[in-house]
Symmetry: C2
Subunit: 192 residues, 2 copies
């Protein structure tokens, strides 16, 4: 997706890794994870099977690395949304940026978040959202409604990620902006 590399890297490495990643995303659209082998990935990526092992320990390891990259991308996006705004609309903007990013890489996210095949990615995003909400409600949480704070955080973060997943599964029927607004409304009234 993004680069993440400052030091000059051998273009063969970049090319090979990209081919492998594309191949995996490709295969995940077609079959369950347990049908995907290093062999198939190598074939699809038009590389030698041994080359795969020069870059990743196994498929699991590869997915963890991809999830890590995704998490870094998303954290960057959310950080810069927080930075550039000083009005009170930070979380609405954060959501909007996040959804735009997801929509912009729809093919990737539809596979890794929208299918049941790769829980690592969903897990990772849930963690990011949970942390964001936890931070956000650090001071503003009002215990008025007798709701436990941790329950409210569980509730809100799962709601966000679940809605994003459903949105992806339904091929993003709303614009990122509109969905961000909807989510902000739901999020404000409940779970806070």
């Amino acid at each position: 997706m993004t680069d993440h590399e400052n030091t000059r890297v051998d273009p063969r490495i970049l090319r090979t890794r990209q081919l492998i990643k594309d191949a995996l995303i490709d295969l995940l659209q077609e079959m369950e994870l347990n049908k995907i082998t290093v062999n198939r990935i190598a074939e699809r990526a038009t590389i030698n099977r041994v080359t795969f092992y020069l870059h990743y320990r196994d498929i699991q390891d590869m997915m963890e690395k991809m999830a890590q990259e995704m998490a870094e991308d998303i954290e960057d996006i959310m950080r810069s949304a927080t930075d550039k705004e000083s009005t009170g609309e930070t979380d609405s903007l954060m959501l909007e940026s996040l959804l735009e990013h997801i929509a912009g890489n729809g093919k990737f996210y539809k596979v890794v978040l929208g299918t049941r095949r790769t829980p690592i990615f969903t897990e990772r995003l849930l963690k990011i959202l949970t942390e964001a909400i936890t931070k956000r409600t650090e001071k503003s949480f009002r215990a008025s409604s007798d709701v436990q704070r941790d329950v409210a955080i569980w509730y809100g973060s799962s709601a966000l990620i679940g809605t994003i997943v459903a949105w992806l599964r339904n091929d993003m029927p709303y614009t990122p902006q509109y969905l961000a607004k909807q989510l902000t409304m739901l999020f404000r009234i409940g779970g806070k």
Copy 2:
């Protein structure tokens, strides 16, 4: 979990299937799904590997069948909660019965819902909750807040299942009754 069988079944079949299921749950507590082989399941279940194939096509098939059984159990529970109540507190009672059932089979649910290893189960429960909420809001939905009904349903059902998962992961720090109350409150104010 429950029986589901009216016709008399050879006790060897029941015994073997139970051994296999227990073995899988056992192994899922210890390792990722991709490390679990039919061999390991058979060893742990103290049955012959070939016997596994007399009952299930493969591990995937086995998990689908287990998820189906879980779904039937849960649907029974929710149906009887709906039946026995005529006051307006149906959904609170439904939630409470559901959470009690989950708590009562904590070891099982902690593994199949609380880990990232078996998305089929989470998926299945999400579907049940989504349908329940859809039915529940069929007439009572008020479009007052400019929130799309489908978005509200995505939001609410994901919130419910996500909270249950988090509750399991944290070893159920609240009683089913208390959590049901909390969820009902959160659910009432948001997502409707």
